[in-house]
C-alpha cells in the first residue's frame, strides 16, 4: 500500500470524474446487455464481440473518410448501425429458432457467436491494433480540480446521460418500448394479445447490440482498438447487470457507477490490487442483495 502521495481533494475529484466517464461507456454497453437480458432472458456472451466490432467499424469508417470531425460523426452514426445489422442477421437466421429451447442453449449459442465473431474480426481486420484519434474539437484537456482532464472524457460524461434519458424515453413513452417491457415481464400475455413475440425479441436483441456497437464506437478514440476487447468488457458488463438487477436499465447505470468509481478509487488507495476492488464490490452487493440492487425484471 502506498500512501506516499498526498491525497488531496483535487486528486479525489479528478479520480471521481474519470471513474464517472469510464462508467458512462460501461453503462451504454451494459444497458444493451440488460435490455437483451430483460426481454429475452438470455445473457448475450457475444455482447462484448459486438462492442469490439463497433470499435473496429468506427476505425474503418473514420479512416475511410480521412478521419477528423466528419469521420468521427460518421463512425458514431454508422458503426452501431452496422453492428445492429450483423446482430439482426444472426438473430433472424439462427437465434430465433432457439427461443423454444432451454435457456442454457441460448447462452451457448451466444458463446458460439462470440467465438465466431472474434475470429471474423481477425479475418477481416487482421491482428494489428488500431488507433484512431478524437476529432480536433474534442482533443486536448481542460484543467479540472487543478489536474488535466481530457475533453473527450467530458464528452463521454455528457453522452452517457443523454443515452440514458433516450433509453428511458424510448422504453416508457414509445409503443415499441412499452411492448418490449411488457414482453420482458410476461411474454405469453403479450403473445396472447396478438403481438408477434418473435419480432419483439428480434427488436430487443438488435437494440441491445446497437448499444454495444455504440459503446465500442465511443470508446475507440481513447484506447487501442485490438482483438481481445471482447473478452475484457464482457465480464465487466455481466457483473454490472448482475449487481444492478437483471433487465433493469437504471440498475445498469447504478452498477456501472459502482464499477467505475470503485476502480478509480482502488487506483487511489491500493494501485496494485485496484482491479480487485470492483470484483469485491460485486461480491459484497450480491451477498447482501443476491438479486441485484434494483428490482430485476424477473
Amino acid at each position: 500500500m502506498d500512501f506516499g502521495q498526498s491525497i488531496s481533494a483535487a486528486a479525489i475529484g479528478s479520480h471521481l470524474l474519470v471513474g464517472l466517464s469510464r462508467a458512462m461507456i460501461l453503462f451504454i454497453v451494459s444497458s444493451g446487455l440488460s435490455f437483451v437480458l430483460g426481454v429475452l432472458r438470455v445473457p448475450n456472451v457475444a455482447h462484448g464481440s459486438l462492442y469490439m466490432i463497433g470499435a473496429f467499424a468506427a476505425y474503418s469508417i473514420s479512416t475511410a473518410v480521412g478521419g477528423g470531425t466528419a469521420g468521427f460523426i460518421l463512425s458514431l452514426m454508422f458503426a452501431p448501425l452496422l453492428v445492429a445489422l450483423i446482430s439482426l442477421i444472426a438473430e433472424r437466421s439462427l437465434f430465433c429458432h432457439l427461443y423454444q429451447r432451454e435457456h442454457l442453449m441460448l447462452l451457448l449459442f451466444t458463446f458460439a457467436l462470440m467465438l465466431i465473431l472474434g475470429d471474423l474480426v481477425k479475418m477481416i481486420w487482421g491482428a494489428d491494433y488500431r488507433s484512431i484519434t478524437a476529432p480536433a474539437f474534442l482533443q486536448g484537456s481542460v484543467s479540472v480540480f487543478g489536474s488535466p482532464f481530457p475533453i473527450y472524457n467530458l464528452f463521454l460524461l455528457a453522452v452517457g446521460p443523454v443515452v440514458a434519458v433516450g433509453l428511458w424515453f424510448f422504453s416508457n413513452k414509445t409503443k415499441i418500448g412499452k411492448i418490449a417491457r411488457a414482453a420482458a415481464v410476461d411474454m405469453q400475455m403479450v403473445g396472447a394479445i396478438g403481438i408477434n413475440v418473435s419480432w419483439v425479441f428480434a427488436f430487443a436483441f438488435v437494440l441491445g447490440c446497437f448499444l454495444a456497437g455504440l459503446g465500442g464506437a465511443l470508446v475507440a478514440p481513447t484506447v487501442s482498438v485490438t482483438l481481445g476487447m471482447d473478452h475484457d468488457i464482457i465480464i465487466e458488463t455481466f457483473l454490472i447487470v448482475t449487481i444492478g438487477g437483471l433487465g433493469n436499465m437504471w440498475g445498469a447505470l447504478v452498477g456501472s457507477l459502482i464499477f467505475g468509481i470503485t476502480q478509480s478509487f482502488g487506483v487511489l488507495f491500493w494501485p496494485q490490487f485496484a482491479i480487485v476492488f470492483p470484483y469485491l464490490a460485486v461480491v459484497i452487493v450480491l451477498t447482501w442483495r443476491p438479486k441485484g440492487l434494483l428490482k430485476s425484471v424477473w
Binding site: L94, F111, H231, L239, Y279
Partner: protein, 320 residues
C-alpha cells in the same frame, strides 16, 4: 444387461489404452494424457451441470486452485509429492465449498453470475500476486518425482488415477445421493416438499465435484510441469461446458467423449489454421441445432436400439 455391456466395453477400452504407449508415437501418448486430464475435469463439471442442473459457470477456478496448490507445495515447500497431490484437491474442494456457500442461496443465472465474479476474484488475485504465484508468468519447471517424470510413466499414472476417479464418480452417480441430485435437477420444489434438504445436497455435490476438479488440476501439473493464470480463466470454464454438451450431459461418460473430441480437434485443426476458435464456434452451433443431446447420448441411443431389436412377447414394446 446394458450395464454389463458398457462395463465390458469400458474394460476393453481401458486395456487398449494400457497397451498403447509402446506402439504409438510419443506425441499421441502426450495428447492422450491431455485428454485424460481434460476428461476428468469435464466429468467433474458434468456432475453439477448435467446431473445436478447447477449453473456452474466458473468450474475452471477450482481446477486452477488445485493445480496452483500442488505447484506451490512442490516448489516452495519440501512437503513432498504426495502431500501436494492430496492438498490440491482438498484446497479445491475447500474453495468450492466456500464459494458454494455464497452461491447456493441463489438460483440459476444468479448462481452462475456470482460464481463467475468470485472465480474471477480468485483469478485476479492469482494474476497479481506474483511474489507468491508468479503472477502472469506462472510457475514453470515444477519438479516432478522420478517415477512419473517421463511421458510414458505420466501417462500410466494419470490413466490409473482417471480410472479410479471415474469409478468413484460412477458409484456416486448410481448412489441414492446421485439419484437425489438428479431429482433436484428435475424438480427442486418437489424435493423440498418431500423433505430433502436441497441446499445441503447441492453443497455436497459442489464439494465433491470441485474435489475432482482439483485432482484434474494436480494431474495437469504432473503432465506439463507448469501452472499459469489461464487455468483459472472463465473462457476455460466455458470450454469445459462445451465438452459436456458435446459429449452429452445426461449420459454418464459423455464428457469424456466431449473432451476427447475437443482436444483432438483443437490440436489437429490448430496445426492447419489459426482460426480454430471459429471452427469451434461453428461446431457448437451445429451441435445446438442438430445434436443438443450430444454425441454421447447419440451413441447410447444407437446402442440401446441395437440391444432392443427383438420386441418382447408381452407386446409392451422395448423400454428404456
Amino acid at each position: 444387461m446394458l450395464k454389463q455391456k458398457s462395463f465390458w466395453a469400458s474394460l476393453v477400452i481401458f486395456a487398449v489404452l494400457l497397451f498403447l504407449p509402446p506402439v504409438i508415437p510419443r506425441f499421441y501418448t502426450y495428447i492422450l494424457t491431455v485428454i485424460f486430464v481434460t476428461s476428468l475435469l469435464a466429468m467433474s463439471l458434468n456432475m453439477l451441470v448435467g446431473h445436478g442442473g447447477l449453473f456452474q459457470f466458473h468450474h475452471a477456478a477450482f481446477y486452477g486452485v488445485g493445480a496452483y496448490t500442488a505447484a506451490l507445495i512442490f516448489t516452495k515447500t519440501s512437503l513432498g509429492f504426495w502431500m501436494g497431490f492430496f492438498a490440491g484437491p482438498v484446497a479445491a474442494a475447500a474453495a468450492g465449498l466456500i464459494i458454494g456457500l455464497f452461491c447456493v442461496r441463489l438460483s440459476d443465472l444468479y448462481f452462475g453470475m456470482l460464481q463467475i465474479s468470485l472465480g474471477s476474484l480468485i483469478w485476479a488475485i492469482v494474476f497479481r500476486w506474483y511474489s507468491l504465484t508468479g503472477g502472469d508468468d506462472g510457475i514453470h519447471g515444477i519438479p516432478i518425482p522420478e517415477f512419473i517424470a517421463s511421458q510414458k510413466s505420466a501417462y500410466y499414472f494419470i490413466l490409473i488415477v482417471l480410472g479410479v476417479c471415474l469409478i468413484l464418480l460412477y458409484l456416486i452417480y448410481k448412489s441414492p445421493f446421485g439419484s437425489t441430485l438428479q431429482a433436484i435437477r428435475d424438480n427442486a420444489e418437489r424435493c423440498e416438499a418431500v423433505g430433502i434438504n436441497v441446499r445441503r445436497h447441492k453443497l455436497m455435490a459442489i464439494t465433491i465435484a470441485t474435489f475432482f476438479a482439483g485432482v484434474a488440476g494436480v494431474l495437469f501439473v504432473i503432465l506439463e510441469g507448469s501452472v499459469f493464470p489461464d487455468l483459472l480463466f472463465w473462457v476455460l470454464s466455458l470450454e469445459i461446458f462445451i465438452m459436456c454438451l458435446l459429449g452429452g450431459w445426461f449420459t454418464f461418460a459423455g464428457p469424456v467423449l466431449g473432451a476427447a473430441i475437443i482436444v483432438s480437434l483443437r490440436t489437429f485443426v490448430g496445426t492447419y489454421t489459426e482460426y480454430w476458435t471459429f471452427v469451434l464456434g461453428i461446431i457448437l452451433i451445429l451441435l445446438i441445432f442438430f445434436l443438443p443431446e450430444g454425441v454421447g447420448s447419440l451413441m447410447l441411443k444407437l446402442f440401446q436400439k441395437r440391444v432392443q431389436v427383438k420386441p418382447k412377447e408381452t407386446g409392451q414394446g422395448a423400454s428404456g
